[in-house]
């Protein structure tokens, strides 16, 4: 069988299919670049990186908060400090993310087959909001009690409250500490791999005939 006939034939090997659709779509230089297109020179690019940095800070301070359990921060000044770090990292995380989002909008950064990058960004935004809500629910103080009793009506109204019960603190703790950060993490890694694979979107050119729609 000639090699061309072989390449036309659909690859049935799962392993080589996975390798081709992942590792072989990127070169080491794409993944860890030491240079960038000359147009990648703007303050706006900093916000994506700052969002990742805030997420790393959130994971770190969150892990520290797990060490002595949910009540630790109410009684220890060290615990309270890390709670503050966790809170302010969330606030920074969202500020940076929203600037990043609108930056990418005004750059029409979905051009040139980058729709999936945009969509994974929106997914990251949505899951981050739900993760933050569960975080507010597990403060185990007055604010969390109040938010739980208010938010339940919204979820109940959609038929979701029967399964995600905001009044069930144990459930909220497990979602916030285990499941949701994992989901956000996977989406963010996916988002960034897409960016690295495609390369940074070039500027919108004056006379470009290619408006480059979604695809």
């Amino acid at each position: 069988m000639s090699s061309s006939a072989q390449s036309v034939k659909k690859d049935k090997n799962w392993t080589s299919r996975l390798r081709k659709s992942t590792l072989e779509t990127m070169e080491p230089q794409d993944l860890l670049p030491d240079n960038q297109p000359a147009y990648v020179a703007s303050w706006i690019y900093v916000f994506g990186v700052l969002t990742i940095a805030s997420l790393l800070m959130l994971i770190t301070t969150g892990l520290i908060l797990t060490l002595e359990g949910p009540s630790w921060w109410h009684i220890s000044s060290v615990g309270h400090f890390f709670n503050s770090m966790h809170l302010w990292s969330v606030e920074l995380f969202f500020v940076f993310m929203v600037v990043h989002l609108w930056g990418k909008f005004w750059m029409a950064a979905w051009r040139g087959k980058r729709t999936a990058t945009w969509v994974t960004g929106v997914l990251a935004f949505g899951t981050s909001i739900i993760t933050a809500l569960t975080g507010y629910l597990i403060q185990t103080n007055f604010d969390s009690q109040w938010i739980a009793t208010q938010a339940k009506d919204g979820f109940n109204a959609m038929g979701i409250g029967a399964f995600f019960n905001t009044l069930n603190t144990g459930q909220a703790i497990l979602l916030h500490v285990a499941l949701l950060p994992l989901v956000v993490g996977v989406i963010v890694i996916w988002h960034i791999l897409l960016v690295r694979r495609k390369g940074v979107v070039p500027p919108i050119d004056n006379d470009s005939t290619i408006e480059g729609g979604a695809f």
Binding site: L32, P33, N35, Q36, P37, A38, S42, V49, L50, I52, A53, W73, F81, N83, S84, M85, L87, W88, S89, L92, F94, V98, F105, W106, M107, A108, G112, T115, V119, V122, F125, Y136, Q139, T140, N141, F142, D143, Q145, W146, A148, T149, Q150, G154, N156, A157, M158, G159, A162, N165, T169, G170, P203, I204, D205, N206, D207, I210, E211, G212, F215
Partner: protein, 310 residues
Amino acid sequence: MVMKVDPSKKWTGPVRPYDIIKEGVIAVVVVAVLAGGLSLLFSSPDDKAVTLKSWSNNNAADFVVTATGELAGTTTSAGYGAPYNHAGNGPTLGPLKLQDWVGVHIPVDPANDFVVKPLLMLNDGNATAAVDTWNAATVDQQTKWASSYADALGKSGGATSVADAKNQFGPVPGMVSSLLGMAKTGALDGALTTSETPLPTDFTKPLLFLADSEGYFADMASKQHLSGDQWGVMNETGSWPGQSWLWLFSFWYQVEPFKSSGNADTLVMTLMGLLTLSLALFPFFPIIRKLPYKIPIHRLIWKKWYARKL
């Protein structure tokens, strides 16, 4: 010369040096310093959690009114419907009755769960006798007793009990005052959290009971600008920033037609779901995806690049 670029092709034009790892490390340090500085300057809020014990000790009259309301079936949770009970209908979206369709998944029967069953745990002769009288009566009779007592309490101007001059409250005053005593010691908190499992992680019952309070729980929240009509859940206690990213969600509750709609929760949740979906679909919307071309903010973003070419 202005280059025509195909954004889907790999860039072959000029490049500049860049160190992705160094930039990442610097970003982490910057965020650590910012978050650390903000934490040292502003700390974070922590208003103590409330309990049925703190409620009954701080505002006994409100506790008594709410407990009577549970027996009369007039509180929010007593008339809630799914997923807690069959006592009411949830909000709808046209023919969609999402809340009602899921049915009762987290059964809560406020009169029994918040008042009757805890009183039986008390092992107190008077309380048990009152509950026996209550249980032996018809539902109509029970409602009559509890409603008349609720009226009398309402007219009393903040009393924690009213004498039964016309013999129309049945066992209700006895039940409610026993429950008040129980709540004041903290025993009711234990009774409600351990009713399902011995090691509680679920606070559905005490929180639903607390949320029925208008004079204590809701009052504390509105003093902290946390009520729905005060942009509710996006705020924090004190003057700390809360979930400001929920601003659009909170916004809808402040305006018509949502503000006065009984279906506001379903309407706003659906609307936000659709808006989020639209955000994901921006690259497909003909008008929206042209906006970045029409309003040339990109000239500002890539200022250096455009300057260089001209």
